[in-house]
């Protein structure tokens, strides 16, 4: 079992160009910030390296950082054999929100990524079925954006009270 900080140091030694950053809040759990371009190789290392073996992607969440005009994706991963947990973050500008899909690494990402697209508007490159999941396909906007305004009518039906 490794602590997030140890995992970060281990990762940095092996992926020097990945642009990794170790960050913490005032409270709660730390996370590792990864550049979107190196997300996939880093995630592959995390899953396959015998020291890490993160076999489960527990959660994938899209976040809208309105002040910074950025969208983010947080990945919470877990190793069932070694017992450690880790949070990985990616942040991309809101006008070009492309993040590589990790569906080929963990199948469970398929629906989580569709949800993050639907709710926040992150575009996942190379996703096999990049469609909305909770809202109808012709819905307008992404509800979990902080500046979201609900459309007044959906197919002629009023959406308000």
């Amino acid at each position: 079992m490794k602590l997030p900080e140890e995992i970060f140091n281990y990762l940095r030694e092996n992926n020097e160009e990945a642009g990794l950053e170790y960050q913490t809040g005032d409270i709660g759990e730390p996370w590792i910030l990864v550049e979107a371009s190196s997300l996939k190789p880093v995630m592959k290392t995390l899953r396959d390296d015998p020291q890490l073996l993160f076999d489960v992607l527990m959660c994938l969440s899209g976040v809208h950082y309105q002040k910074e005009e950025e969208l983010g994706v947080t990945y919470h991963i877990n190793s069932t054999s070694l017992g450690h947990k880790l949070a990985i973050k990616v942040r991309v500008p809101i006008d070009n929100p492309h993040v590589p899909s990790v569906e080929s690494i963990w199948k469970t990402a398929n629906w989580h990524e569709r949800e993050a697209w639907d709710m926040v508007g992150v575009i996942f490159d190379e996703h096999p079925n990049h469609k909305r999941i909770l809202c109808p396909e012709d819905w307008e906007g992404h509800p979990l954006r902080k500046d979201y305004v609900q459309q007044e009518f959906y197919q002629g039906m009023p959406t308000g009270e």
């Binding site: 913490t24 809040g25 005032d26 409270i27 709660g28 759990e29 996370w31 076999d55 489960v56 992607l57 527990m58 959660c59 969440s61 976040v63 947080t74 919470h76 069932t80 017992g83 947990k85 949070a87 963990w106 199948k107 469970t108 398929n110 629906w111 709710m119 999941i133 909770l134 809202c135 109808p136 509800p143 979990l144 979201y148």
Partner: protein
């Protein structure tokens, strides 16, 4: 089921594929779920689940409320069959961010209540599963038992389904005077009923024929899809957050983790998933008994409840074991009065996403068994 369209896939080929909609209104989809089944005769070639019919955007509510404590009643409405467990996950997440010390008595009551809720939820899941496969009687027997738990909850919280009972730092109010007596009485009367259930349903020949070797989920696939709870354990993996990532006071109790063994068919089939739930109820009874013994009689359950919750900047991913699996709350705080982001990772959502992988090649009648065996609650899938 309604036939959507009938088309020939290839004019030269004699094989005809048909797309049929199972749901959104269908008795065995356990809510409003639509499955598009691509069929070749009776054989299911492909399944495309369509969800979102119950979507209310719980996460948006949570972020707009501007208050941490008022989110709790909304969590009830995700998995409305095990509302207490949903509340517990959320309040633990906030308590961890606050680094709050919880009184002993509260911890014990929480454990007893969540294990009772686990039994109630499994009773509904198992009963409805049997019902889907044509076994009507066990459903009624199990509902009688579930009713007893709901009576205890009603005396305790005032509500039968959506309780709003757990709160950050404690409980809404103390348990009634005869809570211990009622619960002990239930444990005593319920234990023989599990044997009755096994005679009536679990080892029933027809039931085994309908569930053994159906919808087999290998452990590797289960982990790749991040399955958890009884679905993962049904595939033979010993993984329970109450032991593997302990929260509350679960590390104090002695209980086993039942796993599937392929007893009547293949490891990871519908029967294994079903049986894990039955055996889990016995373990929950063991936990309740120990917790009843250890529960202090005196103590104020509201003494640690903060008047106002103010959090510094930071975030947490907190997971707990609900009857359906790993329920995770990802909460980001940005120093304001309410959460900046709340994401609920619902086990049913994750389990439903692997339905296409486990039902390919099965017969159309077995779809009902497969959907029933992963025990989804659509309120939690759609949130």
């Amino acid at each position: 089921m309604e036939v959507m369209m009938n088309k020939t896939t290839d004019s030269n080929s004699e094989r005809r594929e048909m797309v049929i909609n199972m749901g959104p209104q269908h008795p065995s989809t356990h809510g409003v779920l639509r499955l598009e089944l691509v069929l070749d005769g009776e054989v299911v070639k492909e399944v495309r689940p369509n969800i979102g019919y119950l979507h209310r955007c719980f996460e948006k509510y949570a972020e707009e409320l501007g208050d941490y404590a008022s989110v709790t009643p909304y969590t009830d409405r995700m998995d409305y069959v095990s509302a207490m467990n949903q509340e517990l996950g959320y309040v633990i997440a906030i308590e961890r961010l606050l680094e709050l010390e919880i009184p002993e008595r509260v911890e014990y009551i929480r454990v007893i209540i969540s294990e009772l809720q686990r039994i109630a939820s499994h009773l509904l899941g198992i009963g409805a599963f049997g019902l889907d496969l044509g076994a009507f009687t066990p459903f009624l027997y199990l509902f009688t038992e579930r009713e007893k738990i709901l009576d205890i909850f009603e005396k305790t919280s005032g509500a039968r389904l959506l309780y709003n009972y757990m709160t950050v730092g404690g409980l809404m109010k103390d348990v009634p005077k005869d809570f211990k007596k009622d619960t002990a009485e239930f444990v005593k009367t319920f234990r023989p009923k599990i044997k009755e259930l096994n005679d009536l349903l679990s080892y029933n020949k027809i039931f085994i024929n309908r569930t053994a070797d159906i919808g087999v989920l290998p452990e590797k696939v289960a982990l790749n899809y991040a399955a958890s709870g009884p679905v993962l354990r049904g595939s033979g993996m010993k993984w329970d957050l109450r032991k593997d990532d302990p929260y509350s006071i679960y590390d104090r109790f002695d209980f086993d983790i039942p796993v599937g063994s392929g007893e009547v068919g293949t490891l990871g089939d519908c029967w294994d998933r079903y049986m894990v739930r039955v055996r889990e109820m016995e373990q929950s009874l063991r936990i309740i008994e120990q917790a009843l013994d250890g529960m202090p009689d005196e103590g104020d359950v509201t003494e640690a409840v903060p008047k106002r919750i103010r959090l510094k900047e930071g975030e947490i991913y907190c997971r707990t074991e609900t009857p359906r699996g790993e329920l995770g709350y990802y909460i980001i705080s940005d120093k304001k009065g309410g959460p900046f982001r709340v994401k609920a990772r619902a086990p049913s959502f994750v389990h439903l996403s692997m339905l296409p992988a486990i039902s390919k090649g099965s017969l159309i009648a077995d779809m009902v068994a497969i959907v029933g065996s992963i025990d989804i609650v659509l309120g939690e899938v759609d949130r």
